[in-house]
Amino acid sequence: MKKVCCFVVFLIISAASVFLMSGCSESYKATIKVYNWGDYIDKDVLESFTTEHNIKVIYSEFATNEDMYAKLKAGGEDYDVVIPSDYMIKRMINDDILYKIDLNNIPNYKLIDDRFKNLAYDRENEYSVPYMWGTVGLLYNKKMVDDVVDSWSILWNEKYKKQILMLDSQRDSIGITLKMLGHSLNSKDEAQLEEAKEMLMDQKPLVLAYVGDAVKDKMIGGEAALAVVWSGDAIYMKRENPDLEYVIPKEGSNIWFDAMVIPKTSKNKKEAELFIDYMCRTDIALKNAEFIGFSTPHTEVKSQLPVELTSDKTVYPGVDDLSNSEVFEDLSDTLSIYDRIWTEIKAK
């Protein structure tokens, strides 16, 4: 009996200490929790939001959409605003874990360019407000590549054997292969996917490595000649190494969006909407666009940015350059086929 008592007391003490730690008093009107990609905001913006609205912001960062999703699904954290990418937003909508956003509470929404509204991942504009956008393309080192780079097919050129870096991401790698073959990068057609798989299998001996963030160091250091990269990273790499150039291949590519959403775990939906509206305000969006260097969906902000940034086709490709590019859609059940293909390619 004594044993059991001790055990119970121990449990109570450990439980109580957990509650005590979280019960600090505050003088703020409310507290919101924001969950965003790493290095993806000008942090001054958070402070000025707190000063202006007397709302405390607890800010935390994730490294990949998948990490974010796993954490959100596991529960425990009641985030109010999260900034994931397109296909992940679609998945979250399908999972029914997002609130519909009341656009009446977000007057600044009208400042966002219409071409970034009603996109595949959120056709009715009910759940998300665009934050940044960009493309997937080819980054090459002008000193190491003497061919014209305008097609994905250069990634299959024997000449660049072991000088090619692919993205270690099944959606992107299979997606660009589908694009090269003239299919949609959201293809659910098994024959098309099989065709893409064969192509990637053939390509494997030419690939130096399948990388994630390491691509930046490798390309800046001249370790490889060609790489598949996100435009946001390309801007940074071009700045660090002027020999690098970025192109969106003629077959088309992927346009991606990161957008603000409110998960159903939120207990402060009003304040979350206030925060989203604040992020859309011209001066604030300008600060973020300047800090991050990615492409803003905000018309007014774009015109206020320095010309050398807005004239760079890497950041702001023309509408023509994007005519045959697509947005990722959630593949739901087909995703397991993609995964299988990717495993087969990498297990070979």
Partner: protein, 274 residues
């Protein structure tokens, strides 16, 4: 009575961090969520034994076995040197050997990535000496190198601790009776150090067979290991059932190999883990 009380935190710890997760993993591996609710199923386990995943298992085991063998070959002499009582400054040597372990495992692996680069220090040095480039980054060799480098101390330390406790008299007796150095090693030193060798093998094999960071960083993700596969099920594909089934098969594999090993381990001479 008092003694029991002290163990409660550990019991709670084990329930929260070992038992509950384990039960969850087993649960996820045998159920499937359908429109009609949750159903018991063996489909996840069936998938584990499809040829493509078997290849991944075999590759993981192959690379782990090679690394373990290399660690043993490199580590045993190292342990003997460290255990040599005649050696002056032995403690300094041991400290030097252990210092790299104070650094984070990830940082050390990243360091190897930079060291082995095409324009990295090793290749530059080789080309300055007029030698051909190694070109091992993003190959299986680099993965094995990473495993050996990271796990070598786990081989050396248990063997060292057993060897340094070996009764000097026994070795001396063998010498007095005319044993050659070879016979002395084969009949006396090695058999006595076996518990250390076995725990060393287990301690290297386990992390080597489950690693996913080393193959990702040094293998350029071209060599999918079982660890990579499991990681992707949980973070990429969200197929928790299949990921759990893979984990369980991997756990059984490790348990099995440990069982086999412990049959040869007659008694724990301080080097044993359990």
């Amino acid at each position: 009575m008092k003694k029991n009380w002290i163990s409660y935190p550990y019991v709670v710890w084990m329930i929260i961090f070992t038992l509950v997760p384990l039960v969850l993993v087993i649960y996820y591996s045998v159920v499937s969520v359908t429109d009609n609710g949750i159903a018991l199923t063996l489909q996840h386990f069936k998938k584990v034994f499809e040829p493509i995943y078997i290849i991944v298992f075999l590759r993981s085991i192959k690379l782990a076995l090679i690394s373990t063998a290399v660690c043993l070959v490199l580590g045993y002499p190292m342990a003997m040197i460290l255990a040599d009582r005649g050696l002056s400054k032995r403690n300094i040597l041991i400290v030097l050997f252990v210092i790299p372990m104070w650094m984070n495992f990830l940082a050390r692996t990243y360091a190897w990535m930079t060291l082995l680069e095409k324009n990295g220090p090793i290749e530059t040095m080789l080309s300055n000496l007029g030698l051909p480039p190694l070109g091992i980054l993003y190959t299986e060799k680099a993965v094995i190198l990473g495993m050996v480098y990271n796990f070598l101390p786990f081989m050396v330390l248990p063997i060292y601790s057993v060897l340094s406790k070996t009764e000097k008299h026994i070795v001396e007796a063998a010498e007095d009776l005319g044993a050659t150095p070879y016979i002395k090693f084969k009949r006396i030193i090695f058999p006595l150090s076996l518990p250390g060798v076995i725990s060393g093998i287990t301690m290297v094999f386990m992390p080597a067979v489950t690693t996913f960071v080393i193959s990702e960083l040094l293998g350029g993700s071209q060599y999918t290991l079982i660890g990579n596969l499991i990681e992707r099920q949980f973070l990429g594909t969200m197929d928790w059932g299949f990921g759990s089934a893979l984990s369980i098969v991997l756990m059984l594999l490790i348990l099995l190999s440990m069982g086999v090993m412990s049959r040869y381990e007659k008694e724990n001479e301080g080097g044993g883990l359990w």
